[in-house]
């Protein structure tokens, strides 16, 4: 059962359907993809009692305008984005009930670049290769592999009774996204050394520089600008597998941190690996903003992953209590 929910009046800068991506197909050259800021996407779903991997919208920079074809319960997370419905300013990080027939209008992201709009039940779209996420480069998944367009109608999986409301209902509680997503600047990412060793003081330089995020950054990777770095010795390897979080050093010495849409393989030297828990913050950086690296070990990355998992378990329990249901599984 499916329920038409939104008609797209204006699509926004770049809005696409995402979930947690399609893992397991890198051997076929298929990127993982999915929400660039996984943490915010998971929380948006959990706030509604959805599975963590339900399909939602990723809104980039400027959000869409949507007409509600029926009453809906939604949650907005990720970037701090201006949002209004029926004259009411809508805050993020909580479940919101919206009346049928109104317009849900997003403005621009005030901090961060990617906001997530989840709907109770999750967006109802066919899965392609095990996921509803949009692969924008290869052009499949989501809405036929493309971003949202004016005139699109999005449906949600039917959920138990959606209570009709006359005006937007905003609860007085929310989930605090910090410390897991802290949008204050400069952003800091922990980095452990990779297989390609930097020359002399360049590792120290990597970790002491205020790197500027270049305009060419996108869902594939974050391109950084700063003093050029050099390798201790030439890197002579054919293409090898890479992952989101891999820090590459192209010949111009300007590092690239790979994000979710990165290819399965890469030929550039791998100078480091960013902690998985820091990827959501990196996905929220906008061109011109500043990123600093903090030297770490893989053991440090592990410790932070465990701390994150413990906080997520507490959030799941708290939400289950609020929403009056069993805590959902740990599919995030």
């Amino acid at each position: 059962m499916s329920r038409p929910l939104f008609e797209v009046l204006a699509p926004g800068t770049l809005s696409s359907v995402q979930d947690l991506g399609r893992a397991g197909l890198r051997a076929l050259g298929v990127p993982v993809g999915g929400a660039a800021d996984r943490h915010s996407a998971i929380l948006a779903n959990l706030l509604l009692g959805n599975p963590a991997g339900a399909a939602l919208l990723e809104l980039t920079l400027g959000g869409p305008r949507l007409r509600l074809l029926s009453g809906a319960t939604v949650a907005i997370t990720g970037a701090d984005i201006a949002t209004r419905c029926a004259g009411v300013e809508l805050p993020g990080w909580r479940p919101l009930r919206l009346p049928a027939g109104t317009e849900l209008a997003f403005g621009s992201c005030r901090r961060g670049v990617r906001a997530y709009l989840a709907v109770a039940g999750g967006l109802d779209l066919p899965t392609v290769l095990g996921s509803r996420s949009t692969d924008l480069r290869a052009g499949f998944g989501g809405l036929q592999g493309r971003p949202l367009d004016a005139g699109d109608v999005l449906s949600a999986h039917a959920t138990a009774a959606v209570p009709e409301v006359d005006r937007p209902e905003v609860p007085g509680w929310w989930i605090d996204p910090t410390p897991d997503l802290d949008l204050s600047l400069p952003a800091v990412a922990a980095v452990a050394p990779g297989a390609a060793v930097l020359d002399g003081a360049d590792w120290q330089r990597l970790c002491s520089t205020a790197w500027r995020v270049a305009p060419a950054s996108n869902r594939i990777g974050l391109r950084l600008q700063g003093p050029p770095l050099h390798l201790a010795e030439a890197w002579q390897r054919p293409s090898e597998p890479v992952l989101p979080g891999t820090v590459q050093l192209p010949p111009d010495g300007q590092p690239i941190v790979l994000l979710n849409d990165c290819g399965s393989h890469g030929g550039y030297p791998r100078i480091g690996h960013v902690a998985a828990v820091d990827l959501p913050r990196l996905a929220q950086l906008r061109p011109g903003e500043t990123l600093r690296f903090a030297a770490a070990s893989l053991g440090d990355h592990d410790r932070r992953a465990c701390e994150r998992a413990a906080r997520m378990a507490r959030i799941r329990l708290a939400l289950a209590q609020r929403l009056g249901r069993e805590p959902l599984g740990t599919d995030g």
């Binding site: 051997a27 050259g29 054919p238 293409s239 891999t246 290819g263 902690a275 893989l298």
Partner: protein
């Protein structure tokens, strides 16, 4: 047999096994033999194996004790890699793809011929002569990196990539050969086009060519 194996970390949730061998085809065969053998016997934490030219990534879910998982998996991978399969005699699928060479389908055929000091016809003959091996799929879904190109045809990629290369374009870059599954930007030299659909997300499996498969080109 001078083939050495080394294992390094690929971030917190990956291991990378590398085969150092002067013979790149032999290194690649060894990778594919491992990629075929390991799935049936991998510990539960292993989520994905990703083969490349001369390396194999083993990705895993670290679980409640990621450091211990990583250490245990590294030891397991070292043991597995110590066994070398005799893969020379293993029968592989051989695909045959018809290619329309030159003209609008292969706008770089003449440039490759000039670079090699050959007629375009000789380039086509030399391109169709070898049996290629799909060393890996990467760059884009279903994009095969092929081993086996005649070194006489080797030519560096374009200085500036084309904004759009048509789907099915049969191409080379340096000593690598490949085929573009979808239209998109690309800097490889285009020799011709095939109508074969290399990647279709609605198909099972979605790719026409699998890593380790063999391939021959024929003029259409």
């Amino acid at each position: 047999m001078s083939s050495r194996v080394a294992i390094e970390f690929l971030g917190e949730s990956g291991l990378l096994l590398r085969v150092a061998d002067d013979d790149e085809a032999r290194a690649n065969r060894r990778i594919h033999a491992l990629a075929r053998r390991l799935p049936g016997k991998a510990p539960a934490a292993v989520t994905e194996l990703v083969p490349a030219y001369a390396s194999l990534a083993v990705l895993f879910d670290g679980g409640p004790d990621p450091s211990a998982t990583r250490t245990a998996l590294r030891a397991w991978l070292e043991r597995e890699a110590a066994v070398v399969d005799d893969v020379a005699g293993t029968a592989q699928r051989v695909h045959r793809l018809k290619v329309r060479y030159g003209g609008d389908d292969g706008p770089d055929l003449q440039a490759v011929a000039d670079h090699a000091g050959l007629d375009p016809g000789e380039v086509v003959a030399r391109h169709c002569a070898p049996t290629y091996t799909v060393a890996m799929l990467g760059f884009a879904p279903g994009f095969p990196y092929l081993l086996g190109l005649d070194p006489a045809l080797a030519m560096p990629r374009l200085d500036a990539p084309r904004a759009s290369v048509p789907a099915g374009s049969v191409a080379l870059a340096g000593t690598q050969a490949g085929i573009y599954p979808q239209a998109g930007p690309g800097g490889w030299r285009l020799l011709g086009r095939t109508d074969a659909v290399l990647f279709d997300p609605a198909r099972t499996p979605p790719v026409l060519l699998a890593p380790g498969d063999q391939l021959r080109f024929e003029p259409a």
